[in-house]
């Protein structure tokens, strides 16, 4: 009955680094707790009423002591902050070659889409050693994507994209939990992350036959929703072309002025749902809103398609 673990599994380099910091802080916790408990115990025994000890001139204050017990916690806090900030920064700094997987959370399941086209629910298959970046959004309330073995967690918000990255170092199955309370079945909004040998992963991707990739699906939707009619060049409507746009600054008409916005996932999403909020300079605000007409999954596919055009020559 006493066979519970003391550490969750370590399946990323981040997990090892974090555990080192945690051990350091547990050390501080144990040191100060022992110090305070020991002092209390010793004073209580030594100075219990009736004990024959010297009680003359009991001090009522000491500038020196106050300085010491302000300075030591301050210095230790600074060490803890710098160390933890360094690890925190790495969580925001995914490698450039990370594979991007889309995640949509909804009450009460996870939908995951691989760029190669295969999608899955409540299961995430990833290859060993490959950095993976998750682009996440929610279809309803706030959820939170939590993999204890990787020591990472990020809230998944409706109407916004958040991201999370990891690089698994161990083959196996790891728990995936929703950590932000999201209603009735919050506790069964769980799943499994399968870290596989790269060859196994390739086999898994191809297992259902080679279908269209996420970007190809996006292109199909791009045509189906009549985006192509204007954005691929049209005689009647003057609309910006999307080749070479993703990841570059876009000039936005802001009253009299022009400001520049990075064309990222957020910008493309808002341009589809709220097309009149940030209009490219030199164009009329003609585009209708697609709010409530395209699902979160499809939006992610269309974005993947526009992203796939990033390296093409811009067309004026």
């Amino acid at each position: 009955m006493w066979d519970f673990p003391l550490f969750p599994e370590q399946a990323t380099a981040n997990a090892q680094k974090l555990d080192a910091l945690m051990l350091f802080e547990v050390g501080i916790l144990v040191f100060f707790t022992t110090l305070i408990f020991t002092l209390i115990l010793v004073f209580c025994l030594r100075f219990r009423r009736g004990s024959k000890v010297d009680r003359s001139n009991a001090p009522t204050h000491s500038q020196a002591l106050e300085v010491i017990w302000i300075a030591i916690p301050a210095i230790l806090s600074a060490v803890m902050f710098i160390w933890s900030m360094q690890l925190f920064y790495e969580l925001y700094d995914p490698p450039a070659d990370a594979a991007e997987i889309s995640v949509v959370g909804k009450q009460w399941m996870w939908y995951l889409q691989h760029p190669q086209g295969r999608s899955e629910t409540n299961e995430l298959h990833v290859p060993l050693g490959q950095a993976v970046k998750l682009n996440m959004t929610s279809q309803d309330v706030i959820h939170s994507f939590f993999i204890p073995a990787f020591r990472i967690k990020q809230d998944v918000l409706p109407g916004r994209y958040t991201s999370l990255w990891f690089q698994p170092t161990k083959v196996g199955k790891f728990d995936l939990f929703c950590a932000e309370y999201c209603g009735t079945n919050h506790s069964i909004m769980i799943g499994t992350v399968h870290v596989m040998e790269p060859a196994d992963y390739e086999a898994w991707l191809a297992a259902k036959g080679v279908g269209p990739s996420q970007a190809e699906e996006g292109e199909r939707l791009f045509v189906q929703h009549h985006c192509a009619g204007c954005h691929r060049g049209s005689q009647t409507v003057h609309a910006p072309r999307l080749e070479g746009v993703y990841g570059k600054p876009v000039p936005i008409q802001d009253g009299e002025n022009i400001r520049f916005i990075q064309a990222d996932d957020r910008y493309i999403r808002d341009s589809i749902l709220e097309p009149r909020s940030e209009v490219v300079a030199g164009y009329e605000p003609l585009m209708p809103s697609y709010k409530d007409q395209i699902s979160e999954q499809d939006l992610l596919k269309i974005i993947a398609y526009i992203k796939s055009l990033a390296n093409q020559e811009p067309i004026q």
Binding site: L21, D54, T60, M85, F88, I142, Y181
Partner: protein
Amino acid sequence: MSAPAIPSDPPADYLTDHTVKSWLLTGDHKRIGVLFLISVTIFFFVGGAAATLLRLELMTPKGDVLASADAFNRLFTMHGVVMIFFFLIPSIPAVLGNFLLPIMIGARDMAFPRLNLLSWYIYLIGGLLGIWILIFGGVDTGWTFYTPFSSMYSNTMVVTAAVSVFIVGFSSILTGLNIIVTTHTLRAPGMTWFRLPLFVWSHYATALIMVLGTPVLAISVVLVGLERIFRVGVFDPALGGDPILFQHLFWFYSHPAVYIMVLPAFAVVSEIIPCFARRPIFGYRFIAFSSIAIAIFSFLVWGHHMFVSGQSMYVGAIFSVLSFLVAIPSGIKVFNWTATLYKGSIRFDTPMLYALGFIGLFTIGGLTGLMLASLAIDVHVHDTYFIVAHFHYIMVGGSVMAFLGALHFWWPKITGRMYPEFWGKLSALLVFAGFNVTFLPQFLLGWLGMPRRYFEYRPEFQVLNVMSTAGASILAMGFLLPLVYFLLSLRQPRNAGSNPWGATGLEWQIESPPTSHNFHGPVLVTCEPYMYSPEEAEREYAHEQLVHHS
């Protein structure tokens, strides 16, 4: 300190008039304190009953004790709402702050006695609405009411709950206002700021937070209500709102609220320790100013609840630094209390056991708070049982231990009666032991990755959950014991005398229970608080032993 001598034939005490009307229309701060004591005790046991059911449910990984996940979700929401808004926030300030603060500064009453009574009525209305929700359907958002779940998706009585929290907030504001004005205007001649008992300093800091923070809570729950009823787009992105905005507003109040719960605990411990160590408190000014520092910092750290919410990395970094800063005034307090034991003449009566237990548990709660302020660690343990364990160490190990310590310390003053010392000590030991067995395993559960608010969980977490439930049963006994012996003590004759602990402080210079106007004439304060002498205490003790043996 000097108060006029107690006359041989004192006027009636504050409990003399037994009519219901005299209680319901009272302006006496002591009676209002007692009214609050009765009501918060009822809510404590309501919230405790919910906790008992939750712990029973969590003994097994599958849902079995409760009918459904919805029942579980409603239950943990009620546990949180009742314990925080209807018990912890009013517990020490509205009960003991009300009863003691005017006496401690040599005043006849609070500055605004009628507002004081109004505060209780408002609390009662909010509380009854809370009970109404409990009986007629419940609410399943968690005490945090996160949007857009609360504003658009939940099918429970969210608006009623919001109204209930909105109402009870005004009770808190009025109590806070009374404490501030009373401290400024009604101090007796000679009661300078640095002669105030630390109880008053800490309550003053608490009152500042109550008055400045609570309106923001009111605003946030009103906006949730507006969005729910009229579809005003504030928080739901589908309506053009921002769900994170709610978290900023909510924690702008609810983080300072943690200090509304724990600063009064500091107040109590700062009175009990010097009394039972029989020596002046160590570092009076540092303890006093650290209370004010905590009140100020408390408004600058709310973003540490949101490190993984989607706020920017830089915002996270700033809130992390500010949160580490709170460690400094908290450390000052713990070290100064500990130093107060040095060269004391220490007695281990029940209030002292509670106070010593408080220091230990608060130390653990505070240090685990540093882990949570460490950004990368928080990413892993946020929204797991680690955080549940951490805030229970502060709120139960800290605030509830101090509340019980305070009740034992001042019970003779409030009722004129002593309680059985043996059972008191036993309750302190049961609470301390039961608490640790309940919540230490939860740190480990959270570190291993068990998320909070889970109705069902992975089987590998069961052993630790069973331990926690076992601890909770010990804790429950520790809480029930005082209820029994305090109530039974009321059937005893008044046997406490005016100063059973030989304490300094104006409240111990008057009768137990005090008369309606507290003092029999003008009060003049001529010295600092905590003028205890350990050497004199030893001489008295030696003399007592001598008499006892001969």
